[in-house]
């Protein structure tokens, strides 16, 4: 590069040239790879928009899933997804926040904390279909039938480790001097945690909850044999309930053109919701960290 070329004999020069050429080849290759992945992401979004927008019309939100060949929408599935996501995250949030608090505030670097952290990470990336099997074994067999409650249980089990992880991460970012300042005023530990740590980490914890909602709302595999599906409008949590992911799965795999179109519509809805949640979560946590 900046080595004076005159001092190099021809062999060395050839060697340097080969190194430089290899370097530029690798540079170009990595650029191409990055571009290819970004283009693929773009392609996914474009096809999703193109096919999904054709299905977006008022009836999509107002009518229930149709029999093949007749008109209909996804109202029951949208409702089911909203209800199951909301209840499961409402259950998972206190569990996750409390467990995260234990790790960050009490157990910290102890052996027990390391172990719980490890198990939590395993649970975080365990195949979601396995969680479906577990809930099937406990809730569905226990109750004797498929139900929305079983779906909620499966989704909550998926949400908990996400919330545990982010809560712990965010609480451990809080400087100990803040806690010590609280303690020096004679504040009991639990008040230090709830009034000082939680407040300081509030946005981060909220981010974790948003990410959990995003993750849970797109989960399909654990619902296949817990909440099952329901062709009709149902608000009964004790009965099988329609939900967007499973409806998308069934409709997309079907040979009927109008069902496939509805599947694209549902796919667009879910992706929009998930990406919007992710962007909001990222924005709120970014403002916090800097």
């Amino acid at each position: 590069m900046s080595v004076p070329a005159t001092k190099l004999n021809t062999m060395n020069r050839a060697h340097v040239r080969r190194r430089l050429r290899f370097d530029s080849a690798m540079t170009v290759l990595s650029l191409l790879m990055t571009a290819a992945v970004l283009v693929t992401l773009g392609a996914i979004l474009v096809t999703l928009l193109y096919n999904g927008l054709q299905a977006i019309k008022p009836s999509l939100f107002l009518e229930s899933t149709p029999a093949p060949g007749s008109e209909g929408g996804l109202a029951n599935a949208i409702f089911g997804s909203l209800v199951m996501t909301a209840i499961s995250v409402a259950i998972a949030t206190p569990v996750g926040v409390m467990a995260g608090t234990f790790l960050a505030e009490y157990a910290r670097q102890s052996k027990l904390a390391e172990f719980v952290r490890f198990i939590n990470d395993v649970l975080l990336s365990a195949p979601s279909i396995i969680i479906g099997l577990f809930v099937y074994g406990v809730v569905v067999l226990g109750m004797g039938h498929f139900s929305a409650w079983a779906g909620i249980a499966a989704l909550a089990i998926i949400a908990v480790p996400i919330i545990v992880r982010t809560t712990e991460d965010m609480l451990s970012l809080i400087p100990d001097s803040l806690r010590e300042a609280g303690a020096a005023l004679g504040t009991p530990r639990w008040k230090v945690i709830t009034y000082i740590s939680y407040r300081a980490a509030f946005q981060g914890i909220l981010t974790g909850i948003l990410l959990a909602i995003a993750r849970v709302s797109g989960e399909t595999a654990p619902l296949l044999f817990t909440a099952l599906n329901n062709q009709f409008w149902s608000t009964n949590l004790n009965a099988p309930m329609a939900n967007l992911p499973v409806v998308i799965f069934q409709f997309a795999m079907s040979p009927y053109e109008d069902w496939r179109s509805l599947a694209w519509g549902g796919a667009l809805l879910i992706t929009t919701a998930v990406l919007a949640l992710n962007i909001v979560a990222r924005l709120s946590s970014k403002g916090k960290r800097s």
Binding site: M26, L31, I130, L133, F134, W190, K191
Partner: protein, 330 residues
Amino acid sequence: MQDIKKTSSVMTDTPKSHRRSRGLNWGDPFFKSATFLFAMLVLTILSGIVIVLFIDAWPALKQFGPAFIWTSSWNPVKDSYGAFVPLVGTIETAVIAMVIGVPFSFGMAFFLTEMCPHWLRQPIAIAIELLAAVPSIIYGIWGLFVLVPICQKYVEPFLIATLGSVPILGHLFQGPPIGIGVFLAGIILALMILPFITSVMREVFAAVPAVLRESAYGLGATRWEVVWRVVLPYSRVGVVGAVMLGLGRALGETMAVTFVIGNAHRLSMSLLAPGTTISATLANEFTEADGELYTASLIALGLVLFILTFAVLAIGKRMLLRTSGKGGLA
């Protein structure tokens, strides 16, 4: 860390008169044990999963014994089941995903940490993370309606024409180009695990001390040489950990694979033929399974998958922990 523990014990040891007059002290033990119980709940869930799967799979385990793993028949009519075909499919698709996904992840991490101008880094990183957030069913539906026709018309005929006639290797690329199959499932999995591996790799690359990089550059090393000979060896353990995490995901992924693999309980030498994985078999057959042994065999498949992913994830975590230990706070 130690200090806060001491302060807290001092804090709770306030004089008795204070305690009684303020009535403060019930809160601490209560709150602490509440958080403890919820943390234990996480452990309970995981052990619950293992126990429940084991109990529900017991009829199949008792009937077939360890031979379940290497038996290749899957016949609901004769009530004879073996995990071999889906297990091979699971490993096959995951390996394809790694072979394609790891070099791509490395290329992207290389680009992002070493060359990308600063203003572009954040947008690309966010785009990659969004790719990770897209639900797997979207990859499935996209793969089925977009990638399958492309593969069928262009990619697979090309592979069959070129690689199909190579001695030994050619066996992997034979048969009719139908799009749906193990190969396409592997490609979709590669796309799905890419963002995970890339972002972890980026983190471990960024954790390499700048002095190391600068000294290599100072000796006249090219950018590629710095990454390949200095950054990569230094962060080796973390990179392997990242790859293991990706592998764990690829093994357990369900929906995207179910859409495009074709769900055929058949062993085939060709990667272009339809096959099945453990998770795809579960997704397709579980609700339709009648008979105790059928259901139990499916759950036993799930148990095999769980043990497999648990082992891979545990190894990956271990390796990542070792690297983060070097750099202090994770």
